[in-house]
Subunit: 545 residues, 2 copies
């Protein structure tokens, strides 16, 4: 077509989210702990003032601002102000080791750091190592915090900054939708953190798709829901919550640092109906000493980031909560799939629905998922065959920042390799069964270490078990099981006991015979990572290399 | 950021809608009248065969295919197959005059025409005038339709075409998201029809936004809803229904040509829950002789295209239907606003909700609306001040096809002028009060001809009234009222009666004093357009020029 446009191309930028919010829902509330509540109108005004203040002190387009901060209203203001002024928001994971934090600030070449006051002492100590950082902005609830002198850095208190340098009439620049909006680092279990970045377009499309995915039954989110932002805002866009809620016009509650006593109070007081988080968060919520005094019924929670244990799911269900799993990762913005019901599934039995909700779900709109074998062929959708999950979506990060080797390894034939291993059911739902690096590649076929561990753990003498692959000349790899027996079974458990226990599953047809471990080792203890998971890396070092 | 992408840019193309549908909801149904029902899986297969058949007979990328067809499953197959193969779907309005149809086929330079068999006789007669058209494809429910020989044209029957030329293994080309997908003509009241076209990106973004807008209370659409496609598919993408329903995975019902007896039967049999249409369609549905025998309660309907009369709204409400207004036009793909409730409005009284539902609503996500005066300044959001509606959205057509004059007049300062005149309420809802060309521009201020007609029509002696602007040296324009008195008031009604009647409204403060007509003419009859509206163009010709 002869294409002469009489209007400029519409840009899919983040400001469109906030403009809708302030124009259509100006009186909706954002609540910060028991400290503050204000309207979307106020929020917008502060975002404008923050951007103009940052502009006034010298931060410009393409500059990077790192945040080391919990879920405060100030952090949420940076979510909009920084990308909207054309700068890049680098959310730093506070759970990283200090050396990693220094590494990522240097690797990103951040120009400014916004940090919570509790981090200020560390910042003072580390400042000399943060060469590119010129500005330090301190976020605090205190009115009389004394700011330190830090050689070579300009130090501002957030409220004073927007009061003294901000303007109500600042105009945001018009940005191209492909402008980078955010940057963050994944904390892999091995090696240095890897950076990924997202454009305005990616974040906006992720927001639209996420909202549509949660129009599906079993777990619908609506504009009148009240969201508690409990996913740390330094985890990949707080899983998209702040953007999606703002676009919809939901009431939003920010709990600051995670304090489950306060969180329970906020849930009751603000009538929270919706949240998201890792299984540990759900566990903490249910098992807090005060938990039983609060009514959690009707609260909807999306659980992701790690496999949701069945027991925890049922515990939450008993409290009246509605739980489903979602799946994604830092590199994917993060949403890929969630376990809503498809139309027509409303009539399933309660047990069948539980199975659905405990799966990883089906893809968001615009997400394409495949489960592929090592030759990149699709595995059958039979709920049995194992393959790696690969994805396409408008919001998949396009590379690892300044890391071509890792990028080349991860992006294959136009697809993003998630590193997760799954089965795919005939109904289109996905179930994650392992990490790619932990799966045992035997004769071109894959054995899920996690599934095999599950079967072994049902023996009454087994306290803990880990399965790893050991090199095998003929098969490539074969399973090695490392078992910690229960106290009363110490010295009584034999390789033969375990194998004959497993034979049952083979006979029942749930486990292929070739999954039987070639070797079983008994020990007193399994090495753990700092967050309490079994460290398969250390096991491999100890028993294989 | 150093931006090296290791994956190709994700394209926002229409195939993403259909791929999701067939992968995630393969067993959902599409029903065509009482003639046929098939699954999304079948639908997808037929879309592939149609595209490959078109490709095989010689239709390629950029070629234009006109459809002259009602709401059949075949028409819906072209909605996907034609744009997905890189060709352009030109839906032709069957309500246009034959001369206009010939005009638009020529102006568009269509390469092929798909038409319903009932149009075939006309096509035979008109064929010599359709110079660019090489292929004629006939859509019919009959199995033994005899095809005519038409000199210079290849004539195919649709089912034979996809059977004999189609392939199941055809692969759609990878398209850029800015590829033109559709073309259509607005049938303005004056002058020749004007063409507008839409890209894949525009249609996909419109689809996402439309679905999100209907997550708002008062009128939510869900994946388990059953949609009846009653908006003619030759009206701007059937208002987006086929694309949105397919993405969500809804059951879809196609009624063919509008036959309200059959439509009522389909509503009952297929358990329809959702539809859209102009007020006339709603009127026909409620007033069909069989209507009272059917239960319409719970059915949701979006009404647009013309102002919804209050009486009709309440009539539908009495039948248990849920009705809201939507607003948009051909040039806007079409969705701009709809009258859903904003979060927090659930607690309004029934009467207050009725007022909301009868307004034009608030903007869809990503749509920006302003109401501006002749200097392009925003009018106050006071529910009184009148201005023209101007819009920005990713899916606003970027020009009138091959019509730079009309384009330059319509696109101003980056905004699309809708030609509609509205008031804007403090709560952000819009109410359309006139067409720009009918509004009376008096002393730089605007008088809504429709509002003034409403006030005059409340006089018990008035049967019909039209208000037009007459030239005035001092004020630019002043109102002239043309009144048809009721039989019993003939020769009894005076200008003074009308003016003193209107003085009441002035005293009450609902109508400004300067709105009082300068002149009133009494007559027997008002000239009408073919669709029964008062023709203000003819009135202006008769009383002013």
């Amino acid at each position: 077509m002869p294409n002469h446009a009489y209007i400029p191309k519409y840009q899919l930028t983040i400001d469109k989210i906030l403009l809708r919010a302030v124009q259509q829902f100006p009186d909706k509330e954002i609540v910060y702990k028991d400290v503050l509540r204000y309207t979307y109108r106020d929020f917008y005004r502060r975002v404008v003032r923050l951007a103009s203040a940052l502009d006034a002190i010298g931060i410009g387009k393409g500059d990077k601002i790192a945040t080391l901060e919990w879920n405060t209203h100030r952090h949420m203001e940076t979510y909009f102000a920084v990308p909207m002024m054309g700068s890049i928001l680098h959310t730093v994971n506070l759970a990283m080791a200090p050396t990693d934090i220094i590494y990522v600030l240097g690797h990103a070449e951040d120009n400014a750091v916004l940090l919570g006051e509790e981090i200020l002492p560390y910042a003072e100590a580390l400042a000399p190592q943060l060469e590119t950082v010129k500005y330090i902005i301190v976020s605090t609830d205190k009115e009389d915090l004394e700011l330190p002198d830090i050689p070579g850095k300009e130090v501002y208190e957030y409220e004073a900054l927007i009061r003294d340098y901000g303007s109500d009439t600042y105009e945001f620049p018009e940005l191209d939708e492909d402008t980078t909006a955010t940057l963050m680092y994944t904390s892999g279990t091995t090696g240095l953190p890897k950076g990924v970045y997202f454009s305005h377009r990616q974040i906006l499309l992720h927001t639209l798709s996420l909202i549509i995915q949660f129009t599906y039954e079993g777990f619908t989110l609506a504009p009148h829901d009240v969201i508690l932002h409990i996913v740390p805002m330094f985890h990949v866009h707080a899983w998209g919550g702040p953007f999606a809620s703002t676009l919809m016009g939901q009431k939003q509650v920010l709990p600051g640092r995670l304090d489950f006593g306060l969180i329970l109070k906020l849930i009751e007081k603000e009538k929270v109906t919706q949240m998201a988080g890792v299984p540990t968060i759900l566990y903490m919520l249910l098992n807090h000493p005060e938990s039983k005094n609060y009514d959690l019924s009707g609260i909807k929670m999306i659980v992701g980031g790690a496999a949701l244990p069945k027991g925890l799911y049922y515990e939450a269900k008993k409290r009246g909560m509605k739980i489903i799993q979602g799946y994604g990762m830092t590199e994917t913005c993060p949403g890929l799939t969630s376990a809503n019901l498809k139309p027509g599934m409303e009539s399933l039995s309660e047990e069948e629905k539980d199975e659905i909700f405990l799966s990883a779900g089906f893809p968001f709109p615009l997400v394409e998922i495949r489960v592929v074998d090592s030759q990149f062929n699709d595995v059958p959708k039979d709920g049995q065959s194992i393959g790696e999950v690969v994805a396409k979506a408008p919001w998949v990060a396009v590379e690892y920042y300044k890391d071509p080797d890792k990028s080349r390894e991860t992006y294959v034939q136009g697809w993003f390799r998630t590193g997760d291993v799954a089965v795919w059911f005939p109904n289109g739902y996905l179930k994650i069964v392992d990490r790619y690096k932990d799966v045992i590649k035997s004769g071109g076929e894959w054995i899920s270490s996690i599934k095999l561990e599950d079967y072994i753990s049902t023996h009454r003498g087994v306290a803990e078990v880990a399965v790893i692959g050991m090199p095998d000349e003929k098969w490539g790899e074969r399973p090695l099981a490392i078992i910690v027996p229960k106290k009363e079974y110490e010295d009584k458990l034999s390789e033969k006991d375990i194998l004959s226990h497993l034979e049952q599953y083979v006979e029942k047809g749930v486990m292929p015979k070739w999954w039987l471990p070639d070797k079983i080792i008994f020990t007193n203890e399994l090495p753990k990572t700092p967050i309490g998971k079994v460290s398969k890396r250390e096991l491999r070092e100890k028993y294989i290399r």
